[in-house]
Amino acid sequence: MSRTEKLQKNKKRDAGMTRRKDSSLPAALLVCVFLFAWQAAAMKMSAAYILPSPVRVVVRLWELRGPLFGAHLPATMQVVAIGLVISIFLGLGLAILMDFSPVARQALYPLIIASQTIPTTALAPLFVLWFGYSIWSRVLVTVLFTFFPVVVTVYDGFRAIPVEMKELMDTYGATPAQVFLKLKIPAVLPYFFSALKMAVPLSVIGAAIGEWLGAQNGLGYFSRRMMTQLDGAGVFAPILLLSIAAELLVVIVGLLERHFLFWRGAE
């Protein structure tokens, strides 16, 4: 009982601090200026298939709401969700393994770094050959984009744990399992959330690229189809939706982070 109360008290105070400190006004103003400039340029150019105005994009989003929200957004979100879950488990698993065993670290770390030199987008058509138009080719692209920041950031988190804290637990007679549960997990949590904040937008991008390269539904696929029809606003509309979805996911991760890392206070 006291634990939750404490937590809420801390959260309230922290929320108060952030509200005072961090104003989003300058960013909002900058976005407005940018949108106005875009609108003006688009109106002057008057070629919607090349540069649709922001207003047209929003209108098109509304016109296409049926297929976008009904079919393509859920399809993309499914790929994002599966890809993200696999990336998190794979990333955490590899990070824990490398922390646990120096041999595993020596074997895996260079390979993990090397995996990022693979031009995923160039290989994606091959994935379609392997998996067909099933969602697994898209999930694979998503995972290749997403698991890397999870492994590397979480592994760095393990390495950043002060050895003195571990030794102190040893003098208390802690078992390896206790060290893992009571020291490593809580100490790595901030790194895990940093990793998630990188992984979430990457997973959305990965899913969209996967769909763009070979799929029969999803926002990336839809955007590409609109391209072939020279519907400029139709290309942008699903992309706008994708950005909003990614932004929402990042906000959710941020809220979870605030909840679990209440002890860090306002930064």
Partner: protein, 325 residues
Amino acid sequence: MSGTAVQNIETDSAAAVFRGVTFRYPGDRLTLIENLDFTVRQGEFVSLIGPSGCGKSTIFRLLNRLNEPVAGEVETFAGVRDEIFCSEDSTGDSTVGSKGDSNGGPGGTFQRKAGGTFQRKAGETFQRKAGGTFQRKAGETGGIGNARCGYMPQQDMLFPWRTVAENVRLPLELRGGMQEAEMNERVAEALKDVGLEGWGDKLPRELSGGMRQRASFARTLMTGADLLLLDEPFSALDYLTRLTMREWLLEQWEKDKKTVLFITHDVEEAVFLSNRILAVEHSPIRELREYKVPLSYPRTESALAAPEALALKEQLIRLFREAGK
């Protein structure tokens, strides 16, 4: 009064014994400790003093079993049977003498098991014989005193994600076998003892440096160990806080009757606190020069102005000046 090298190894009422200990870090050619003998007796407050980087902390690492000596033996003994353990396996035989009695009842030894937990093994108690030496009852191999020490590191090392009370509770949690309510009760008592009553629900970052050190000390007490190893606990504090904290520590020691081994490089702090001062002069450490502090307890700050105290302080400072040349 001149310093004499410690030779007298008396395992009678020993809390910690180094017997011919040699140590160098694995893969390192530099020997840090060479054939070192010294003893800390039950109930003593002993300061280990020497210039920074001379290997004082290595002595603690050996006592904590974080490193094993290359040669020789390191032994640590629990004094009077620990009350926390008594509450766990309170069989009828828990002869608890008064806690301060250095010749008290059977000293328990705790053996680190393969899994890494400390646990009292059946029949593994030390019995004082008439002759005054410890002897192992059951036919165990080795016979090395291996009691847990209460180690307090230089930095407070409080876990930032745990509240003060949860931090203090950690050693109890790790040992297991204690009800939640009992743990909380003990923690509340310990916090009260160190003057942090009502601060248990705060996070470490909300405390001042001195308060954090006191929380760290309370956590050290929760280990239930009779031998406390304090590694320059006040070195990061400002001068006035240090003065307060060392008086406070002395009060705690007089109250709890634990054995304290205290690392410092502050001569005045050592004189103020200790029964005995063991000085490290050279590296590698071959011997510790012993100085008895000619002051009685309880001590106040004004005791430091006594001529004997000043003379000892001067003598120690001269020693380090010469060693530094």
